[in-house]
Assembly symmetry: C2
Homo-oligomer: 365 residues x 2
């Protein structure tokens, strides 16, 4: 292995340009550039370029006590929701000279806590977090300690920190209204974990709008909750819904991943989507338009969510107090193939053993 190039320091540049290192530092720092005469400044810049000088962020960071680095904690990069968001964050951060340090928590409180530790040791200047409910306390502490934090996607109850979220209530309302306008009356809800704000808000909005349309009669029978927002978590609640035997012609799933599970389970029970049961999700993840059936869902911009979160954080970091603390992103309906008018004969959900019962029910219907 050939030896690495000897690093060029401000001292090297200073010597070559015949000035003091301090002067070089000032020239290269836009903030202080004006303190130096145009003449020396250009000379120093010239020399710096010739020598191929580049600041050592680490050394700078030690002195200035800031790393120009931001910790980003998300559950799982592999969830299609996050890549666009992370890009939004990075696209906003980079021009400002910041870099993101990404950490996946897998929604595990332990890992989240450890991530916070690690990132803190790395002296990140702030955090962008999609929090896990269990660590509300820790996040609260951070905020109270004055650590710049922006929450994304999820919000933490009773903590008045900075946050960017989709308009969960409005989105859920639009989704359910869409189903109603198609003629559905028996609308089930595969809810997200009630410990997380999106799960809660979407569920509440569902209840409200059902009530508003006089469809609330034993609505609890039509609701089942997943214990996570991840793929696979939607299987159990959908099965539960089927087993209860309470008929429904449409499902509002708390997010796209759950909606996909839901469609799978329905299909396994012999129920086609959308002919027998309509399903609508939430998030408009990339590529769901190509799915079979193309998923109807509620859209908001994940990229924008990330970008805004980064923007808010940069505002905090620069001490700008005039910036808003909370941003709610607009949601819109995207109607695709997974929602349609309800079947002519009322669809009866199967009783007893899922599979065979479903077949029976279909035969009857």
């Amino acid at each position: 292995m050939p030896g690495r190039k000897p690093p060029v320091t401000v001292r090297d540049v200073a010597r070559e340009a015949g000035v003091h290192p301090g002067t070089v530092s000032r020239v290269l720092n836009p903030e202080r550039r004006h303190l130096i005469s145009e003449q020396t400044a250009t000379r120093v810049e010239q020399v710096a370029r010739e020598l191929g000088y580049g600041v050592n962020h680490i050394a700078r960071g030690l002195r200035t006590r800031q790393s120009s680095t931001v910790g980003v904690l998300i559950p799982d990069l592999t969830n299609p929701l996050f890549p666009p968001m992370v890009r939004g964050i990075e696209d906003e951060l980079h021009p400002a000279g910041y870099t993101a340090l990404l950490t996946n928590t897998d929604s595990d409180p332990q890992r989240e806590l450890k991530g916070i530790e690690t990132l803190t040791a790395r002296q990140v200047d702030g955090f962008i977090i999609a929090p896990t409910e269990t660590n509300v306390q820790r996040v609260k502490e951070m905020i109270e300690d004055g650590v710049p934090v922006v929450l994304v996607n999820r919000t933490v109850p009773r903590v008045s920190g900075f946050a960017v979220t989709p308009d969960d209530r409005r989105g859920a309302t639009i989704a359910v209204e869409h189903l109603i306008s198609l003629g559905h009356r028996e609308i089930a809800h595969v809810g997200g974990p009630q410990s997380l704000s999106p799960g809660q808000d979407r569920y509440r909005a569902y209840l409200d709008i059902m009530r508003e349309h006089g469809l609330e009669r034993d609505a609890e029978q039509l609701v089942a909750f997943a214990d996570a927002f991840t793929g696979g978590a939607g299987v159990a609640p959908t099965q539960e819904l089927l087993q209860r035997g309470r008929p429904f012609t449409a499902v509002f799933a708390a997010n796209d991943l759950l909606a996909l599970d839901c469609i799978d389970v329905l299909r396994a029970a012999g129920l086609r989507c959308p002919q027998d049961v309509s399903v609508i999700g939430f998030n408009d993840m990339p590529f769901v338009d190509r799915f079979d059936p193309p998923l109807s869902t509620i859209r908001f911009s994940h990229y924008e969510m990330g970008r805004r979160a980064a923007e808010l954080l940069l505002g905090q970091l620069s001490g700008d107090t005039s910036a808003p603390r909370t941003l709610v992103l607009a949601t819109e309906l995207v109607q695709r193939g997974s929602t349609a008018r309800p079947p002519r004969r009322r669809q009866t959900a199967p009783r007893g053993r899922t599979r065979s019962a479903a077949a029976t029910s279909l035969a009857r219907g």
Copy 2:
């Protein structure tokens, strides 16, 4: 904003424990822990825990000249290929105390170059790069300068650096053989950019296997190249293929994204997949199994690719010279709904104006 907690330094711990800062440093560094007596060591650890001490990576980095940080350059996180890979990288890096700094290049040589600069200024200890062809030279230089670099997914010709790639030739061979075994004889290829190794290798393997089966007669007529591996880039070459009028019943696309474009264009021309034309991709991106039609493709583990790349890099960083320099990942066929037996009557690709001609052709067929 309440003031931040005063940071606890090794000096604080030293004072409290009645020892020298150097001693504290040694206790807390596993490498040198054995130099200190068990008694003082435990006492120091105790105090450190009480005070909530955490190393300042920045200060450490300044002294040790390493940041425990790795630069990761990828074209676009939003391309479904990359999230699993990045997770693989991070899952391997974290336990070793390293953190990834992610940069998206959008396959733009300028941005890639700038990314390398920025990351270098941040003193990353090494790089994991999915290189853009234009910067072969730069990457070569880095390697020659002794900068630890691992290439992923793409390889750089004539540079004997570390690399992890899928088995492109084998994968392509399997794909084409699959089509042949289904009964296809006229198999087109929507190729990737020939400046990138996967584009080249997959194309060559296609040619070889076609020749081997005596299907090579004017094969050039059945090949068109995309100028990128990204979504949308597959539209033009597919249209070109159609306009040439040379009949084909199957397409081997150089990756999944191109395959999707291909299916779209065919569909717009009135050709159904797989009834009229079979299409197979490469990569097995997440969720393509849910697409309409479910995409047949060649699978290799993106997660593993990332993990291995990180592993190779860590090996380099620790000066382990026994490790392999190049890893080729196994590929396998995933047969789904986008490939089927060719139609009974030979499918003739349309001539002239794409859309209407296609309809005519269908009517005839």
